[in-house]
Symmetry: C2
Subunit: 224 residues, 2 copies
């Protein structure tokens, strides 16, 4: 009753920052970062450019809001774990999977690391470090190392996704990359690259990412 007057003046699909962010995420996920233009948004939301600017400061602000939304919804993962190491792994995998589903998030987070959602990840990791018995003074370095690793790797996976690497042609791409590298640089000058060529061509991103997390966790373990 109270808001009848209000309702009368609103279209059922009234614009809002949430609706704009949702539309932006859909465009980003399906067509990539370059496809997110104000023209595309106005077309999809059936409005004018100025209407979007009423709810959003500019393109960067919109990108930040979209990133924050995705990360905030991904970080709830790992809350149920009891073992601190497992909890950190769960958080890390939650971040990884969010980046895989939304490749543009990695690039964005690498560009603007001080977004609110980051704080949730930082807090979540920090608690587990305390539970692990890491000394107070070392906790900051451990948390930032883990966060930096997660965000950094995420940006790189995003770069892979941007090259339209579907699951099917990814092996070919990596094989081609390894082949080009070993052909251009001889084994005498680049022994390590030649030795690891097969790994480069066949490795699994998720496994390798988790191996890095475990390596850092092993380093953290030595601090106790």
């Amino acid at each position: 009753m109270v808001n009848t007057a209000q309702r009368r003046h609103r279209r059922s699909d009234a614009l809002s920052k949430e609706r704009i962010v949702a539309a932006a995420i859909e465009i980003l996920d399906t067509q990539g970062e370059n496809a997110l233009t104000f023209r595309a948004l106005t077309a999809r939301l059936e409005t004018g450019a100025g209407a979007i600017y009423w709810h959003v400061a500019n393109r960067d602000d919109l990108l930040a809001a979209a990133t924050d939304y995705v990360i905030a919804h991904a970080v709830t993962a790992g809350a149920g774990e009891t073992d601190p190491q497992q909890a950190i792994r769960a958080i890390a995998l939650g971040v990884f999977d969010a980046f895989n589903t939304h490749p543009w998030v990695g690039t964005q987070l690498a560009r603007e690391p001080w977004q609110p959602a980051i704080l949730h990840v930082f807090e979540g990791i920090g608690r587990q470090l305390q539970a692990l018995g890491v000394p107070n003074l070392a906790q900051f370095n451990c948390a930032t190392t883990l966060m930096g690793y997660m965000v950094g790797l995420a940006a790189q996976y995003a770069a892979g996704a941007r090259l339209h690497l579907r699951a099917t042609d990814r092996p070919e791409f990596l094989a081609g990359l390894a082949a080009r590298w070993t052909q251009r640089h001889d084994a005498a000058s680049y022994p390590f690259v030649h030795q690891q060529a097969n790994q480069i061509a066949t490795h699994d991103d998720r496994e390798q990412y988790l191996a890095g997390i475990d390596l850092i966790l092993a380093g953290i373990h030595t601090l106790r």
Copy 2:
């Protein structure tokens, strides 16, 4: 003698990919990534847009070439070290300092991680891992973890530099960030953030970066 005819047809300041890349790096370093436009380049090189496109495929190609140049010249660092751990630290610091001098490199490398110069870093790290006695099967994971960490952190420092954080106003910025975070989220729900607020405000990027490298090295040490 042989090339007199050639020389006669060339302006003394003839265009070349090298000259274009050099001009691009200068613009990127002094005015930032957004200032690198073809208009700015043509003005500085006193030529037309088409002339640049004769030597360079497009803007991305130019950015990649500039990144490769900077990294290739940074990686020679650490070649003189005899202790493998010290050598890895030296390589890591070489990368860090290159990113600090050229903040745009971090963003670029996070976007396109498969650039030729990366191969040099990968090879350099790999050799030290072998010298460290890391088992063959684990060397790939160790090398990619270190590389991912370096590149990932670099992109984040670049984000800081992009906000025009000079050495003088950096402390204020970080203090303000920490203050905002602790004000918006209460100590009960975010104990770790509150506990670390002082570290966030006062930490040194280079030290913290190196602490991460050492943490990973400590983890690698457990593999032997």
